[in-house]
């Protein structure tokens, strides 16, 4: 399989802060990736490095087989939609949609117009007069209509309401199906996008914590609930991702269980509940949990 991105031992330090710390991974062509992690985990820095907007402290990056830094050929094929995109002072949305096609060879004007209608974006209003959500919808429209072979969405929907976010997901899936491309979606709304993702990258504290197929990740954890003694007996010395309890009840999240282990759990009167991608990531990146486990 062709890889669109190849990153080897990439680090970016700001003084003593290791924003990205010795990260290596590849991104396969024409898949939708989720880049997830907590605030300040290093997601945006990583995307800025990948799009040549920051220089790496060490390590190598290759996009379409070349370095992205000052490389017009690579950047023409790359679209980076940022949370806080700035526009020239007196710009109106219509000016954005007039200039955007200059940068993207695959720009589809008809699709852009359909999206403008979907998002009910006022084209003639000054950008500084737009609401936060309307501002975000400009970015989303540019990101989709550019049809760049490699598209980054960094928290694209600050201020977008639930309806507008659903429009974004639906249009993304629909257009991706007809025009396959590599999409990297960075977001905190994991539950909302979980089913759209084919692959998941989780960054925590500058480190790449998870690099896994979304479907595999989905089956990675199960929560076992029941009487404390029964739960303890069942989990034995399995690795514990999270532990909760109230009175004589215990709720413990462990790795994926096989069919026969599930039957054993049921036979022992335990209840099993699935762990969503969002819950799994919360449990893996929550600091208290780690401290708790370290002291336990």
């Amino acid at each position: 399989m062709t890889s669109t991105i190849e990153v080897n031992n990439l680090s970016k330090h700001f003084g003593k802060v290791k924003a990205v710390n010795d990260v290596s991974f590849t991104v396969a062509e024409n898949k939708i990736y989720g880049l997830l992690g907590r605030n300040g985990a290093g997601k945006t820095t990583l995307m800025q490095l990948l799009t040549g907007q920051e220089f790496a402290s060490s390590g190598t990056i290759s996009l379409f087989g070349q370095s992205p830094v000052e490389n017009a050929k690579v950047l023409q094929n790359t679209c980076f939609i940022k949370e806080s995109q700035r526009y020239p002072e007196d710009f109106r949305p219509k000016d954005v949609f007039k200039t955007a096609p200059w940068f993207f060879a695959n720009w589809d004007q008809e699709f852009a117009e359909r999206l403008i209608a979907d998002f009910r974006l006022p084209l003639d209003r000054r950008i500084k007069k737009l609401s936060r959500g309307q501002l975000s919808s400009i970015g989303v429209i540019v990101g989709l209509a550019s049809r760049a072979p490699l598209t980054f969405f960094d928290e694209p929907y600050l201020g977008l309401d639930a309806v507008a976010r659903q429009i974004f997901y639906d249009r993304l899936l629909e257009d991706y199906a007809n025009h396959p491309r590599t999409v990297i979606l960075s977001t905190h709304l994991i539950d909302e996008v979980a089913n759209l993702l084919e692959h998941v990258l989780v960054i925590d504290d500058g480190n790449l914590l998870i690099n896994e197929d979304a479907e595999t990740l989905r089956n990675r954890a199960t929560t076992v609930v029941g009487m404390k003694t029964a739960v303890e007996a069942f989990i034995g010395n399995r690795e514990i991702l999270h532990r909760d309890g109230i009175g004589g009840l215990s709720s413990v999240t462990v790795g994926g269980l096989s069919e026969s282990e599930r039957r054993d759990a049921h036979a022992a009167g335990l209840e099993l509940s699935p762990v969503s991608l969002q819950q799994l990531i919360i449990q893996l990146t929550r600091t208290e949990t780690k401290e708790f486990e370290a002291s336990a």
Binding site: K31, E174, Y176, N178, N195, L197, E198, S273, P274, L277
Partner: protein, 119 residues
């Protein structure tokens, strides 16, 4: 779609349900991968994986360049598979719950007969 099982398995099961109910008739054309992906709001690769489960089982078959179709005999094949699993998936959980509540098998049989008469 819920989190309890892989999404592709749920897609396959939903298509099976539509074949069993007759919503997708035998020899009729099934929706495309992209239509399934849009309908269930899932990644097309996941939809493909779900559909492939049914292609491998001979429930759906591909006509090159046209699309996917429901195989002849698919409905009966699926019903038979589901009947085989009925006991473990439905009867056993009922028995487990009945035991927890102290309902013996005679009482349980009476309850089932009564409900069957009412419906």
């Amino acid at each position: 779609m819920d989190d309890s099982r892989p999404i592709f398995a749920q897609v396959a099961e939903n298509i099976e349900n539509d074949i069993i109910s007759g919503a997708l008739p035998e020899e009729g054309q099934a929706p495309s991968i992209n239509e399934f992906a849009a309908f269930y709001r899932i990644n097309p690769a996941t939809a493909l994986k779900g559909v492939n489960v049914l292609v491998d089982a001979g429930i759906l078959y591909k006509k090159r360049g046209i699309g996917m179709f429901v195989a002849a005999g698919a409905q009966e094949q699926l019903k038979s598979t589901r009947r085989d699993k009925f006991s473990s998936e439905y009867v056993r959980p009922i028995l487990a719950e009945a035991e927890k509540l102290g309902i013996d098998s005679t009482q349980l049989t009476q309850m089932i007969a009564k409900e069957a008469n009412n419906s």
